[in-house]
């Protein structure tokens, strides 16, 4: 298994064009994807560096192999951030390595603030990538309003390298808020918790995180994040607490560091780190979240974290549990995020028509089928 580490976009293109075997694309290697066929490694981490950063235009452009921490540090120095707060998988998956910005984009890796600000794909302004034939392609650019031609930027985000290898990404950034607080309730049932999140998200108080952690029955935490200028946050927290008062004891966590830590832990699904079992990531309509919980509790021991107001359900279940079958009649889809002995496909089917379309797209972009083959279907 050879390792190829191109030093530039041109070399990347040449490597792919010349490839004779399938390629496993490696950024930081923190997602632990194991190729099903024998692959050479294609290490993109030499493509690193921030080529443009304009705080006044909320724009940053970086080579795909740039470590995420480098991007975050450059932004933090100007009081800005990647508002979609990408998850750090290393704790959950037990991997090491440095996540890259390209990996974040390739996986559409996002976090709790997705509920208000959007996912990685909503902040992605442009991409440069090399397709499976070694052609260098660009789409989008570096401006937010861009509808010139098709939006392949969205298509590449979350394509896990199966359509092309990213060489450069342009992202929209936002300011880091002056203050963040959590509005918290404890001991609520899953239904009550999600109901509380629903009410908060339907309020005008600009909630930027809404989660219900139900890992231990009876000892649940329902938390809602508010961010912004200090006075504004204080006002909104107060109003929100009043609005939610009938759910029980509502407390406000003003300790900025603690609040940040709590949401980072949620973002990284740290609760499930170092615990045995399969981890599934379910997307449903928020009010169906508790339904997912009910269903899982009926068939097995399950620990559950509800994020995105109930619309993103993280499950920790005994290894080999057929979650998709258990949830078959609920509208939504499940991704197998971690399994020591994967019995099920990572990605759910999109139905016969869309699976066919996806397959055809992969064939167009990667006719030889050499980019992360079999990863997505």
């Amino acid at each position: 298994m050879a390792i190829c580490r191109p030093q530039s976009e041109a070399e990347l293109a040449a490597s792919i064009a010349a490839a004779r075997t399938p390629l496993a694309i490696r950024g930081g290697g923190t997602r632990g994807f194991a190729p099903q066929v024998c692959c050479d490694d294609l290490d993109v981490t030499a493509l690193r560096g921030i080529s443009l950063y304009e705080p006044g235009a909320l724009t940053i452009v970086a080579d795909a192999g740039t470590p995420l921490v480098d991007v975050q540090a450059a932004l933090a120095a100007k009081g800005q951030q990647l508002a979609f707060e990408p998850m750090d998988h290393r704790g959950l998956l037990g991997t090491t390595g440095e996540p890259t910005i390209g990996g974040v984009v390739a996986g559409n890796i996002s976090g709790p603030r997705r509920i208000q600000a959007g996912a990685c794909r909503d902040f992605l302004l442009g991409v440069r990538f090399v397709d499976g034939t070694g052609r260098i392609i660009k789409n989008g650019g570096r401006v937010m309003k861009n509808v010139t031609g098709y939006d392949l930027v969205k298509l590449l985000a979350g394509s896990f390298g199966t359509l092309g290898v990213l060489s450069e990404v342009a992202l929209k950034v936002l300011a880091i808020s002056e203050t963040q607080v959590s509005v918290v309730a404890r001991g609520l049932s899953d239904r009550q918790g999600v109901a509380m999140l629903t009410r908060a998200l339907g309020s005008p108080f600009d909630v930027t995180g809404a989660a219900h952690l139900a890992c231990v029955a009876g000892n649940t935490t329902t938390m809602i994040r508010l961010e912004g200028f200090t006075d504004s946050v204080a006002y909104r927290a107060d109003r929100l607490a009043t609005l939610l008062a009938d759910f029980g004891d509502i407390s406000i966590d003003n300790d900025g560091e603690n609040v940040a830590a709590q949401w980072a832990a949620l973002r990284d699904v740290r609760e499930f780190s170092n615990r045995p079992g399969d981890v599934w990531r379910i997307s449903v309509k928020p009010s169906d979240g508790p339904l997912v919980g009910d269903r899982m509790h009926k068939i097995t021991r399950a620990q559950i974290i509800y994020d995105l107001g109930g619309g993103l359900v993280w499950l920790l279940v005994p290894a080999g549990t057929d979650v998709r079958r258990a949830l078959a009649d609920i509208d939504g889809h499940a991704r197998l995020e971690r399994a020591s002995d994967p019995k099920f496909a990572t990605f759910a089917s999109q139905g016969p028509v869309l699976d066919k379309v996806s397959g055809a797209l992969r064939e167009k972009f990667d006719p030889r089928g050499i980019l992360n083959p079999g990863l997505m279907g």
């Binding site: 009081g79 559409n108 401006v143 509808v147 010139t148 392949l152 997307s283 928020p286």
Partner: protein, 478 residues
Amino acid sequence: MPEPDSGILQRKDEIVRALQAVLAHSDVIAEPLETRAYECDGLSAYRCPPLAVVLPTSTEEVAEVLKLCHREKIPVVPRGSGTSLSGGALPTADSIVLGVSKLTQVLEVDFDNRFIRVQSGRTNLSVSDAVGAEGFFYAPDPSSQLACAIAGNIAMNSGGAHCLKYGVTTNNLLGVRVVLMDGTIVDIGGPMLDAPGLDLLGVICGSEGQLGVVTEATLRILPKPEGARPVLIGFDSAESAGACVGDIIRSGILPVAIEFMDRACIRATDAFSGAGYPDVEAMLIIEVEGAQAEIDAVMEKITICAARHDPVEIRQSASEGESARIWAGRKAAFGAMGQISDYMCLDGTIPVSQLPQVLRRIAALSDRYGLNVANVFHAGDGNMHPLILYDANKPGDLQTCEEMGEDILKLCVEVGGCLTGEHGVGVEKRDMMAAQYTDDDMRSQMAVKDVFDPGWLLNPAKVFPLTVSAGHRIATGG
């Protein structure tokens, strides 16, 4: 535009009869005097009556029409409200215009899950109207929102003034029901976030009616803020206005909208709206949301920023009525300019930092070509709308106007921007695509169309220069 297929033209009567077999007779329009009304959209400089027009009343009827056209190899041009400014709904003589204007129902509203599902012919503003009483709204607000259809918003990935904070259509679109050219009906996405695999919804949004006909859309709705207030800031130069914008953003404030108008636009829109705009060289309309106290606090911060750039006047709206008039003027800018002159509206985006430089170069182009330009745009994200004023009844003026427009758009690309920020490529910028994209870039986009519509029957003459797409359109004889 490509030459129409004479075979199709000859078979017109037969085709019309076949359409009348799958739709109500009143939903098929084929008389030349009537198809004329569908010969153009909001870009009335380019016109061509279609073979026929169909106005189906259900997704199933759309599927039957597409199946028929697929079998007969007839190009189909989807149409929403026909408000496109880039010729997105411009037909060819051998094409069927498929209008979704009869598909306007609200299908489902779910406030707990914060979405609304509508038929795609429904107008943008009426989506917000449908959820307004419960305190919600649909965020993307193109200036034509009163009349434009969701279908068109999805096709063009429309934006609007408030997309600075809330994103554009693709950031607010949760799902679609789309009919593919062979008549297959498929749902993509839905009330849950995240795609199970490839983001097919993301590529359909902005595909200008070339990948399928969207008949239903699931849209994200948001709780209305407690309040909103616009502030007018007048400057005696565009440079100052541009610098002020960058300053505000760098200081951590993200207003809901930042709009820019120059003197020509200010005068025309003020006459229409009675908003009482200051008579200045450049004006920003900045909108802030929140509770009154929150708005006050942010306005103070904005005022401090603005003061650093020598403003001529700073005026916060004092009432809801005034706010409505301030926005009415801005949103009617294109139409209000129409009272003064024919115009061509451009839609290039530039990096915000390039604003003053680009305005200066546009002024220089204006001198060179001898046509005046009025500027109105979304300053917060650099999406410009230079309005080139010309005389449609003066021979040669349109052509001069187009040449100047091309130069302006090339300038946008040159400084790191793009050809179109929200109006789409359509036909208007089709032949300029090479200014922004290489052949390989365009090939990768066309590959997507090859998958969804191998016969290239859906709106085939748009987006890609005809020479570039020629090989793909061979099947249709175009």
